[in-house]
Symmetry: D2
Subunit: 468 residues, 4 copies
Amino acid sequence: MRESCGVVGLALTDRESDKAALPIYYSLYALQHRGQESTGITVHDGKSAQTQKGMGLVPDVFKKYNLKDLKGFVGIGHVRYSTTGDSTIENTQPLIVNFMDRTIAIAHNGNLVNSSELRYEFEAEGQIFLTSSDTEVIARLLVKELIKTDILGAIKELMRRLEGSYSLTILVDDILVVVRDPLGFKPLCLGEVDGGYVVASESVAIDTIGGTLIRDVRPGEVIIFKDGRYHSHQLSKTRNTAKCVFEYIYFARPDSIIDSKLVYQVRIRIGERLVDEHPVNADIISPIPDSGITFGIGYSKKSGIDYMEGLMKNRYIGRTFIMPDQNMRETAVKLKLNTIPQNIKDKSVILMDDSIVRGTTSRRIVDMVRKAGAKEVHVRIGSPPIVAPCYMGIDMATREELVAAHKTVAGVEAVINADSLGYISVEGLVDAVGIPADDLCLACLTGVYPIEVPGEICKRHQMTLSQF
Amino acid sequence: MRESCGVVGLALTDRESDKAALPIYYSLYALQHRGQESTGITVHDGKSAQTQKGMGLVPDVFKKYNLKDLKGFVGIGHVRYSTTGDSTIENTQPLIVNFMDRTIAIAHNGNLVNSSELRYEFEAEGQIFLTSSDTEVIARLLVKELIKTDILGAIKELMRRLEGSYSLTILVDDILVVVRDPLGFKPLCLGEVDGGYVVASESVAIDTIGGTLIRDVRPGEVIIFKDGRYHSHQLSKTRNTAKCVFEYIYFARPDSIIDSKLVYQVRIRIGERLVDEHPVNADIISPIPDSGITFGIGYSKKSGIDYMEGLMKNRYIGRTFIMPDQNMRETAVKLKLNTIPQNIKDKSVILMDDSIVRGTTSRRIVDMVRKAGAKEVHVRIGSPPIVAPCYMGIDMATREELVAAHKTVAGVEAVINADSLGYISVEGLVDAVGIPADDLCLACLTGVYPIEVPGEICKRHQMTLSQF
Amino acid sequence: MRESCGVVGLALTDRESDKAALPIYYSLYALQHRGQESTGITVHDGKSAQTQKGMGLVPDVFKKYNLKDLKGFVGIGHVRYSTTGDSTIENTQPLIVNFMDRTIAIAHNGNLVNSSELRYEFEAEGQIFLTSSDTEVIARLLVKELIKTDILGAIKELMRRLEGSYSLTILVDDILVVVRDPLGFKPLCLGEVDGGYVVASESVAIDTIGGTLIRDVRPGEVIIFKDGRYHSHQLSKTRNTAKCVFEYIYFARPDSIIDSKLVYQVRIRIGERLVDEHPVNADIISPIPDSGITFGIGYSKKSGIDYMEGLMKNRYIGRTFIMPDQNMRETAVKLKLNTIPQNIKDKSVILMDDSIVRGTTSRRIVDMVRKAGAKEVHVRIGSPPIVAPCYMGIDMATREELVAAHKTVAGVEAVINADSLGYISVEGLVDAVGIPADDLCLACLTGVYPIEVPGEICKRHQMTLSQF
Amino acid sequence: MRESCGVVGLALTDRESDKAALPIYYSLYALQHRGQESTGITVHDGKSAQTQKGMGLVPDVFKKYNLKDLKGFVGIGHVRYSTTGDSTIENTQPLIVNFMDRTIAIAHNGNLVNSSELRYEFEAEGQIFLTSSDTEVIARLLVKELIKTDILGAIKELMRRLEGSYSLTILVDDILVVVRDPLGFKPLCLGEVDGGYVVASESVAIDTIGGTLIRDVRPGEVIIFKDGRYHSHQLSKTRNTAKCVFEYIYFARPDSIIDSKLVYQVRIRIGERLVDEHPVNADIISPIPDSGITFGIGYSKKSGIDYMEGLMKNRYIGRTFIMPDQNMRETAVKLKLNTIPQNIKDKSVILMDDSIVRGTTSRRIVDMVRKAGAKEVHVRIGSPPIVAPCYMGIDMATREELVAAHKTVAGVEAVINADSLGYISVEGLVDAVGIPADDLCLACLTGVYPIEVPGEICKRHQMTLSQF
């Protein structure tokens, strides 16, 4: 369970300005944690679009090119995470489509659950796909409609056909269009910057360029930026939404505000709630860095148990690391995490982490902490047990790999070799987030999905397309 | 007027073999002169296709990857030349298309004259294009038909719709299909190798891998390689063909046999014919390397005038050369060509070249030779005057740039500062090639085109689709 | 004031083993924080030495090469930090010298204060230098002596001549020799690994490869690894040492044990001591990440004030970042650090940092925190004021640039716009470290240097060369 | 037997000019055939020196950098060839040495036969070497003397100590010094350019930048360029010189004038002479491209036999070629050379080549030509049999590998499978070159060396140092 993706859109009021690229670049830098595989920026100057994209981190991709060559007053950007199989230059976004003298550029965060069907439908008509991404499916649908109708009509039809999660920033020539799916799976927020407007996956991107968060883009809303103004259209209204709860637990930066909730505070509350749900008499509370830190601070504050780092992370571990052979696996964990035995020795230690997926890494860490002399090791987890896979854009694991899909908490406790194991409850998590359970996607925690997924249980949300 | 493109296809009889990639790599090496911008190979092992492609020369692209990872018994390859604007990784071939669990890979040498119309037609249906290449147009047409009918039927429809030049090697999953357009603009030949068959733009590619040339693929023919055999289908028959005469003059390697004619011998005959048409009493005949060499040998042999190199070429001049500023232009020519004054001084010199496009380079060379002490400089050209642009895949020049489109031979003689200038006649050229004028494309030399091009004169060839 | 350098040496008992390179690679990974500019490894197999080195991070350099090609039972490694001017491939270490059929490889952490004199002395004899590094000076001295005497004699003379800081790992053919300068400026520690011994700048490197820390290499000690054993020689004994106090404050990883003191605990004690020395009634204590974190935990624990992150760091900010123009400076800080206004608003905030150099960055951070709504901003610093430059290997700043060299604490407080500013006292720092002041180098904090530096005050340590 | 190296020096009269780098770059381009492994340029602007160097071809190395950053009125350049073992960035030239505030930059073409002794002598004094190149030995000797005396005195001592071949271009700060060894093994010529002077290994480099050849630098001469003038000093006079005869046969470009002899004409005369020495009644004469071309033209002219290319070379074959496995060796030759069977079939063919080293490649080519249908294959070689190794800078082969060191001509004829084999005689070669045998180095052809080489026969030239 690693990254998602990140999108940005920026529109300056002054059509003569050519300065849209630099703030988009900075915004993508702030969203780098959402995807480190590839990145790209497309800008438009009113006459034509230019794009720079490539594999790698934001600064690595854009130093190769000259960012100054990207001249435009409006633009979009993307950072991408993907599973190994699709890790190719062709899948890099924004996806650019030229048709009938128009240019469409699309940046997408999310995952369609009906992309195979849509793809099949197009292929049956003789259309072909050059990439393996959902984004090309979206592009085809969009263009098909744009030929017949206006932007808003096209997006409306898009929303009718697409099933799944999609936060989109789109350029239709020099018009910026942003869309959040009706269930609002993925975050998307709107801000004001000096001379224009910005839309981004997380509010930190707005902060970074000195902008001000206005509000979140609403589920089912489309916003069109034109002539220095933005026009909102609530194309779809559902009784309930399905905002991804894992943005709060793991994906988003703690300093982001997602759907009006500061992620940092949600994590503090999760830590506090874990004291109530799973108290333990321990000497220290040590986070597993970095994802356990804020939970740990909350737990410490509420319980009064000392916050003390028993594990240190090597900040330089990245993807390019040479994989050791099988019997060096232990070294691999040691390269990433090192214990501070003096902080641990003869102590009863609480380890805080965000989640347990397969259980193997947790087991190795618990063993390291025991080897460093811990008297007892208690594990507290900032999410409930993950019992079902995600189909909405998170490369988590299959159901077979999920340890909690097959074992009780006691069973997982044994697997990871902990003296005690405490997950936050679903109710506790929902309380900590502060959004009603009916408006969250809790599918991976409950096995009940907000949209239809073949073979899974679905509690269908009622969707109504608004008139406009 | 530089390069064209090159294609290769190879099918081994033994479906268990995984050795198709290496001979394709060697074949592309032999065709490197047809395109130096990008290259790619796709192979299929019966289950799935793998592709490696990239910008640069054949050895540079395939050293980056591990050629051994390309395992398959059948495959295609491509070397590409393109004008600056389209020089992007997306346009690199083979173009890969996945649809309905099938994989299509296409390598194309040629140029469509109705691609804009076809593209518009598709776009009007709501289809979109992700690249700017003709090849994507071909892919769309092909897939559209493959949904409805079998390979042969699809290629038949393709041939009906495509206007222009196309020598194609195609993988439809693990079936190799090769196509030469009905007019046979671009060369394509068939050979036998140890354990299978090979198809390539020029016979040198077959020689290089130790194979034997069987015959040329016929204009309008499609050959399908399946189950260790090949099946020929003459889908189209035209009264006449339109084989590009410039393959013989410039593009093809002299050691290639194109449509049963050895290029070297054609060039020797052109040189000999130039003696008849434009005799001159000179001391030496010196080629402008490398393209004038074989003409020069023929001229020398027939005339008895000494063949003597008055100009030497720097073999290391390539694209990466730092462009000097305007007043260093003379240096630029000197970097590429150097005179040997002792071979030239006080002599009457015949310079042999393949063609004159704008006249500026010819002028600089004539001036260099004069500066080196030549008494007289006579220029003989292995092609007739180029008076019209090419629309069939050669990046030659616009009509405005073509010096012979606006000037008489005497006028060009003055422009290039020669004591005399002699072009081979169209009749002489046709004789030297040994193919009837009606079966050659002479459009750039006559202004009469074998297919309809808006604003140009056309002598339409009669095409008949055969029944099958 | 950024990095130092890091060195590693490893000797396996089994001379037939070729496995020394991988643990050296992992050790360098663990020391990456000490230098990110270049890195290298040299191993020896008893017959010859092989080296791989290059510019960049440890995983980037060694993925280009094949680490498996480095076969040897003994080896050394280096990570390097350097000032811009010297950032060239030639200065990359280990430095390799071949002479009279012997190979010397040297990895050096430190800085000589008499290298110009030694260099001049050699040049006056007609010797030449191919690099600008101190390490070449050391190599020349070493070789000059090795011709006349044995390794120990040569190192003894080296120690007599070199003035400054030097922790060295050296290969003299297949013999590993490690040296720590008589004053022990830079850390160096000795550990045991499965099948041999390891020496490294910090104990984390030993932890990472599953080894056990034996002890620190003593100031003035040389250890020779031969025939599976190690032999210690105390070549120099000084009444006092001069261990760099900034290793504890900033350079070393918190999980390292330097001269028997766990860095983490020293930092916790500094934080606690700051409560005593500079108490303040505040709502939260927020570290400036990452260097202020452990101080902050200590301050919170002792004072009872809530530890709460008010600032978040972008983990992806690195060197390759495109520098914004002057009026984007504020953005530059925002890219690196973002405030969490909800944690700060209307609160009295204590910011913890390790040091103040120029004061400009501190000012920007204080301003950011104020802008985020802090009622009061109190700054607490884990070091005393830096009043003098470092000549022993730290690229800190010139005296002119050091804000505390010219201003009182009140003056600095005004410069950084803090409501209050508290540095730890020198006494407090010394207590927290737990090493007598006379055995620490406090030069940058006191202006009194442990060795002679032209123009600076020196309290000369008494050095006595031991007999052996 | 491949390349040598190439050197350039350029001094502009106007010390304020910063334009020396571009013509040096162009000159190196013209000398690229003398070394393709690495290249470098050093310029001096009167205050300091700047250097750019790297592995690869001239345009590849200097596009990476910005040639415009090299500002100076005087400079030197180098292209390098080396055997695999020494192929490292450290050995790239110019070699830069800084000592006592002076900068020395050295570019060297040649090979010392006493470098081991000199190296040992220095090492015995405790000096160390950081590279494996002779150039570092020269640098040490030079600096050692420059401390004691002036440039001329230093070069005089250099000439006294160095044994072997050396054409040097040196910068002593901003003074250009060029040196050719007393026996004149390697070429070096002097030219005038607009605004200054140029020195280069071959005259083509002077031609390329629009300069005029003045004369060759004389064996034993040193020329110092200072204050816009040059000063010649004949430091050594020997009764005879030892100019490398292989420059005429193979190394130099045909359009170069080496020691007043146009290489092209020498090669034509060799071809003509071969007709006299080894006449044969054949149908065509075909060169092995590229090195056999000019010999072939000469042979054809004199004999009247048709010059006809039976073999074509792939112009794109370079070093980066993926090596085929053993049973693909034949393919390897086919990739490089392809036969034109129509030119060969049923004919008696004369193949012209420059030399036979091991005989294996010649054998493969003869076999290819036979396979293409040749009735008879007669081989004519532009050099006498190579019977002894070269110690003066050519990476030819060991004596064991030289087929002619162990076999008679008849034996070699059998090895290469020729119907007849004719080498030019030593006398014929000397006549063709036009320089007395006593002034040529013919060591590889006679086994008698012009300088002492341990284990080899030497006819010592008498050397007298002139007074100055």
